[in-house]
Each structure stands twice: as C-alpha cells, then as structure tokens.
Symmetry: C2
Subunit: 113 residues, 2 copies
DNA sequence: AAGCGTTATGCTATGGAAAACATAACGCTT
DNA sequence: AAGCGTTATGTTTTCCATAGCATAACGCTT
C-alpha cells in the first residue's frame, strides 16, 4: 500500500480563519469577474456564502481587500484593493511552499512499510 | 492584526484517509485502555464511530494495527500490534515536524501587515 | 418611472456526517 | 443457564454547515 502525506494550510487571526484555499480562489474570481455575484456563480457558490466570506475577511483586516459599489450601469460590482492582491500572493506563496513540503516529507512514510 | 499559519496533516492511501490526529489518538487510547469501547468512551466518541475508524485503517493496511477478541472474562478487548505502535510513532513524527514547519513559516506573513 | 443587476442581510430548507439506538454473537463467571 | 462487557453491524435520529429563498436599497439606462 502506498501512503502519501497530505495536508491543508490556512491563515488565522484571533477571530478565526482569515485566508484559506477557497477564500483566495474567491478573491481571484472577484478580481477576474468584477463582482461578488459573478465570482460566486463561476464557482458554484451561493452569493450569500461568498458575501459572508468577504465579510469575514474584512472583519479581520485593517484595510479592506475588496471594494464594492451598488447601483450604476452594471448594477454595481466589486474590485480588489492593493491589500486584496497582496493577500492572494501571500497565500499562494505559503500554499505552494507547503505543497512542496508535503511532497518532500512523504518519503519518511516508508516506515509504514 | 496578528496572523498565524495554521494547518493539518494526515496520511492517505488510495482508499482515503489512513492516519490522522483523531485516528492516532484513538489508537493510543485503545493501547491504554485495552478495548475499543473503553477508548471510545474515554474520548467521548461513539463505539460505532470508533469501530468504523479502526475498520477503515485495517482496510488500508497490509497488516492489522489492532487485534480484537470477543467473549472471555472481560467480555473481550483490543490490543495494538507492532504495526499499530509503529503507526502511532510514524504519525506523531510527521505531525510534530509539521507543527514546527508551521511555526517557522509564520514569519513571512508579516507581508500582510 | 420602471427595469436591470448588483450589494447587503434575514429567514428557511436540506443533505451529509456523526451520534444514538438496537440487536446478535462470543466466551468467561457465577 | 443466566449474566456480563465486549466486538460487530444494521437502522434511525440529530445536528450543523451550506444552499436556497426573499426582500430592500442603490444608481445607471431606457
């Protein structure tokens, strides 16, 4: 039987989860689609849930990651702030580094025979 | 706001999760209490669930980690095999190493300001 | 003024994982 | 032979995270 070391990483503050895989993908979708609702639709997530995630991130960040507008020609929308782009980059760096770590640490599992 | 890198690790086979934190604690409790049911009680877990976890581990291991007996003076019981003890040690090693990794990798999160 | 797509937010429904319950068999003890 | 605590396993119930629905407000367009 072949074993692999698997794992997850996320970034927490005292209030709970700040950034995780799903949250960061959501931020990317908001960046790419220009609205929370289009982002949610693109990943089969309810708008309600997507909004709550953004809200949760904002309650844990000194500066907002997403700026929203209501009304207007397109009904409104959302764009990422500098801090939003930074959060994406920062998480993916930790994520990729961790992925490599897991891969490297799979070898010692040979002890399980 | 202070951020920390958090994470989980577990060991998978092609069939799914083989060893994780809860499973290994369960193995330790079985070792310490001498039965699956006492182990489950000691950690507020239903016997049904504990048994399923042991069953899942066995379906993923060439050699069993737990040996059980039914009947007898104490009604039966369970003891760890050599492979069972080995699994515990192997997981904790990976777990502790990973814990150190997370701690080390928290510094770069300063980028989030 | 009416209509649209969006943000924002409360309330309800649902589905899957875990708990809880139920039963049978086992083999010592009394 | 009856009783006990255990393993083993099927069935039902509970709980909670997420989805889903419903509504209001916003500000362009027509």
């Amino acid at each position: 039987m072949r074993y692999r070391l698997k794992g997850r990483v996320w970034i927490e503050s005292d209030e709970g989860t700040f950034l995780g895989f799903g949250r960061v993908v959501l931020l990317e979708r908001i960046r790419d689609h220009g609205s929370i609702s289009a982002a949610a639709r693109s990943m089969n997530m309810s708008y309600r849930h997507a909004w709550k995630l953004v809200d949760s991130m904002h309650r844990q960040s000194a500066t907002p990651l997403v700026e929203t507008t209501t009304g207007g020609k397109k009904g409104g929308g959302a764009t990422l702030t500098k801090a939003g782009h930074n959060a994406i980059a920062c998480f993916w760096q930790a994520y990729k580094h961790h992925k490599q770590y897991l891969s490297d640490q799979t070898a010692p599992l040979e002890l399980l025979k």
